[in-house]
Symmetry: none
Amino acid sequence: MTQLTPAVRNVLSWYDGERPGVKASLARLLMHGRMGGSGKLVILPVDQGFEHGPARSFAGNPAAYDPRYHFALAIKAGLSALAAPLGLLAAGADHYAGEIPLILKANNANSLGTVKDEAVTASIRDALELGCSAIGYTIYPGSDRQYDMFEEVRAGAAEARANGLAVVVWAYPRGGQLDGKAETALDVVAYGAHIAALLGAHIIKVKVPTSLIAEPEAKASYSDGAGYGHLSSRIEHVMQAAFNGRRLVIFSGGPARDDAAMLAEVRGVHRGGGHGSIIGRNAFQRPHEEALKLLDRVIAIHLGEDA
Amino acid sequence: MTQLTPAVRNVLSWYDGERPGVKASLARLLMHGRMGGSGKLVILPVDQGFEHGPARSFAGNPAAYDPRYHFALAIKAGLSALAAPLGLLAAGADHYAGEIPLILKANNANSLGTVKDEAVTASIRDALELGCSAIGYTIYPGSDRQYDMFEEVRAGAAEARANGLAVVVWAYPRGGQLDGKAETALDVVAYGAHIAALLGAHIIKVKVPTSLIAEPEAKASYSDGAGYGHLSSRIEHVMQAAFNGRRLVIFSGGPARDDAAMLAEVRGVHRGGGHGSIIGRNAFQRPHEEALKLLDRVIAIHLGEDA
Amino acid sequence: MTQLTPAVRNVLSWYDGERPGVKASLARLLMHGRMGGSGKLVILPVDQGFEHGPARSFAGNPAAYDPRYHFALAIKAGLSALAAPLGLLAAGADHYAGEIPLILKANNANSLGTVKDEAVTASIRDALELGCSAIGYTIYPGSDRQYDMFEEVRAGAAEARANGLAVVVWAYPRGGQLDGKAETALDVVAYGAHIAALLGAHIIKVKVPTSLIAEPEAKASYSDGAGYGHLSSRIEHVMQAAFNGRRLVIFSGGPARDDAAMLAEVRGVHRGGGHGSIIGRNAFQRPHEEALKLLDRVIAIHLGEDA
Amino acid sequence: MTQLTPAVRNVLSWYDGERPGVKASLARLLMHGRMGGSGKLVILPVDQGFEHGPARSFAGNPAAYDPRYHFALAIKAGLSALAAPLGLLAAGADHYAGEIPLILKANNANSLGTVKDEAVTASIRDALELGCSAIGYTIYPGSDRQYDMFEEVRAGAAEARANGLAVVVWAYPRGGQLDGKAETALDVVAYGAHIAALLGAHIIKVKVPTSLIAEPEAKASYSDGAGYGHLSSRIEHVMQAAFNGRRLVIFSGGPARDDAAMLAEVRGVHRGGGHGSIIGRNAFQRPHEEALKLLDRVIAIHLGEDA
Amino acid sequence: MTQLTPAVRNVLSWYDGERPGVKASLARLLMHGRMGGSGKLVILPVDQGFEHGPARSFAGNPAAYDPRYHFALAIKAGLSALAAPLGLLAAGADHYAGEIPLILKANNANSLGTVKDEAVTASIRDALELGCSAIGYTIYPGSDRQYDMFEEVRAGAAEARANGLAVVVWAYPRGGQLDGKAETALDVVAYGAHIAALLGAHIIKVKVPTSLIAEPEAKASYSDGAGYGHLSSRIEHVMQAAFNGRRLVIFSGGPARDDAAMLAEVRGVHRGGGHGSIIGRNAFQRPHEEALKLLDRVIAIHLGEDA
């Protein structure tokens, strides 16, 4: 944590009126690792074990069954932060204390149940005890439980802010009127980002949107010739939805797949003004060295060093 | 906060027995802006991003994606207050501290789900921290969740009043026995306003009613030849339902449309004794200068300066 | 509050073991107005605006749209108390402080929805702030939500009693196995009164029963030749169901109709040993002077001054 | 609780902004007994057993050892209220429920200790359970513990007001710079009354002041030739100190002594605009019939029926 | 609440990081009355009745015994705010709701005792219920109880800020090593102001300092030839002590005395960069018209309109 750069100062200015402790937490995230000072973030999330089960998450690279693997990877790669559920963070927070900003993913779901909801699995106190810089919650706008989830986020966010923690919201629309394709439709992703901002999120995590417009009532609003066929235009629109770019928005890579496709997507996020990437399975499901190489390229893209 | 006018003193007299702090908050709303001192209110609500999504709300005037746009618009137009969800208010409350009374819209719904309910997205403490003068809740009389919503409003209103905040209730009947047309039927709108008053609302927001009478049992009560074909007569009836005019009732403009039609409606509200208008999409979905012009005309009508 | 009469002392003796504050509240109700000291009660309830909508409730006598009308009517007529929801009481409790005992009707339903339930719309703290002598709840024995309602009443009643407030229960069987006629069947009304007593009600409000016996299993129990064809015999039976007459039971007049029929019913209640009447629509839906005349006759009947 | 008189309405108007329930409690005190409706109060306080011990308090009239004696005396004499500690009220509140307004004296001291302080011996919940209309606290302005006492009163008064109870403060300066004579000096008594009013007391109880001015710095303020040699002038000054007569102030008779002297003092209180008397030992330390006669004369003086 | 002036925006910029609600409250104080927009404050404090007794405070102008007098005076004179204890504010907050910003003086002492301490006589909840913009506490740096007082201020200030209220601290060094003259010594007054700022005060109230340097150890620090013989230089030094002028500091007029001397002092405060005056006894102890004239001159000086 050396002197803040103009880019980081600019990001912090978007949060005027927020408590100094929250700004200090945001600054810690923004000044760490290779992205430090750029105003962008590249984060390693490891909640897939909870979401999809351990084998689906880690069998491809068995070293990743060990929680400490993820701390080491994030540190080695020079990432901005590691985000994970309570147990995983608790398994490495002591050994790696002070080496990498932590985001406690405080609600979680699994693939065994049928209800589109999440359990609150950690508290603000847990986050403070582990030395986290932020707390994270997932919301499912559209689901039958969405309003309960919003209320959980609201309560958690208020307590987090009162304790100087930043709040990250994973906005994943699903359920209700939305089918599988609609979940990543441009209008729906933008809507999810906007709701997260209205709920008070400091950092918003969304999926990379497709060019589909899912809500019939919304179609007219997208007939402006802005060229939503280009990913960068779609990213630009999501940034608009996030208070005209005045909230940090990072984009997930989705399921593991072809590197070229994935990096092309990262380039689109960068060109569209997205604030970074959150790369999980694409990182930890491959051998360590390959993961470092891939993350190096993602970081280079977001730093504008990619020619 | 200059000396109260007789018109404002008269409004405050309706709330005898209420805490002095609540009266001071009402006075703050009633003494601000161009409507200041008239006993009437013109309010800018910006919860459409939550309710209908960002593009449907702001694509027509992209500057409105930025929360600060709405603060600036409300201030420039000389409105009585800005009403919005937590995240939007938090994004401008510091920069515009002390420049415009704020109403924290504390529950919200979106158009992605299928359940007729709202999430409580903000607390009284949030409202106090942001320097708000009032807190606002939507109720859906008729919906399957209506009684839960009433209980949320009751709890929030009690805490608000104990902390010197005024309570605004958006009364939007829907669900249950009501189809789309019934939602704006005269008897149903009046019923919604009455329920809001009985729940303890200080300010009630309803939609402009049509001349339809939706409840069969209510038809006889409207066969008094009062001429409900005239909008002003319908407004008069809604005011009756609001404790015979002893509660502040403001009317929404509904979806953006033809200015002449909208202004004619505002004139009807004024002639019928309504206490003002709440103009959202009709204001922020058009260019800034045009919005100022339209709001200027709405204000003029409510001030009786419209010839 | 002058010296208690033997009739009132007798009523209070039924509640031995109850907290002194609750007895003092009951005494306040029983010593007030023209019924004061008789051990009987005539109460004005004004929750019809919530239950049936404002126009159906007040269009026949528009002055009644103003909450203060009902305070003034109850005071002028010398009634025992005014019972109404939070917003209505709050609109007059200050101006009329100390002039008429108040009963806060703390749960309410409306006719727009389809769920047979009520919302809890007020708290014990609300009742104390407004200076009420009692709190009132409706239960719908038989409805799908009945047990939730019983539990709300239980919680409210316990807190009310701990704070010296009396508890009034409106026992309105409906839903479940009951069709419209069954709701006022003798066995069902008596059953509702008994449940209210068992839930700890100090004052029970029921509808005047018909001679129908609705539950097949109950028919044998009513073949005792007690002459349930006479209203007074039916009232006597309801009083039996209310701890053999050791709970205050008052009877509602139902929808507005022919005065002669209504007064005949009141006479039946009186002859059967009922403790009084609760007269809403029959009172406030007619012009003020006529309402006073009718209430005068009801009072006279319950005082035994009716020849 | 019959219709409020103009005198009582006038008293209530001094408490604008106070909760309706508190006004209703004040109205109950002001409308009860022979003083009812006059805007004045005559109260029986029985805390001397705690303050001075039972024999010093009751040996002169052994019937007064029984708590119920005091309830019966206050009722029979037509007094405004009975004020006593928890145990004494609890010993009669059930039997006399609803017959006399009660004031729970919630802090107490005894003559065995040496510290000028009082114990908080009852709660607001106790007062509500017993059906009290008010709660009372003693303060000793000047004592080393005065600030602790003020804080206790503040906490109790806030909770009382939130629950619709009136607050009575016994203002007895003592300790600190004050010797015995100073405790009843005009400037000191007025100072005590003023502090009680600033702490939020609705009813203030002070001792009848002498013409001494105890604080050297205050002497100049009393050199206005107002004739403080006359008791009525001194009472007038105390009323000034109580928000220019806009707080109810009642005066104690002090230790038992010659009736003529005592009644002369009551006349002075009446002439000076005092709002009544609080008569303890002079009432219950003499035989029942004599007590009734004396109280009858005190009441007559305050009603202006004394020729 | 009209548009903030550059002067007020500048003041608010000193409090960056503070909650928006606190800034809104500061803005309310800074935008009200004749000083509105100037960045300066002239406040009427009325706690002398508690501190010195009613006669010493109000006998010179008996109309001032009535709490409403002070509301009316502050409003008529166009002052920034009225500061007073709970009971006084409660006696006018309803009638004057919304007409003048209020500061609840939440701890108080009197002149009867010998202990240099204050009682906490009001809560944050009280301030919110009364519609106050700020809460105020006195500290006695140097006294034996100073640390208890600091802790009370800290707790109150934290709760006030969390609820959007500004915090005013009256810094009055006394006791300990300080004799009467030392209480207003330049080094001691500056020290008190600095402690208040360090405790988190938004507005600091001190006495006008003399040129005495009381602490021997401090003497060397004042040998800089800054000319502390001039009041304006001394004021400049106090402003330095208040975070180099980045905290609002207002100066009290002290006991009533010669107008010319008092106004000369106000001029010195103005020239030295003080943020305004708090004028109590000099205002309310003289006839109404004379008070208005004096306050008009004080205001003119602080507005720089005094030639």
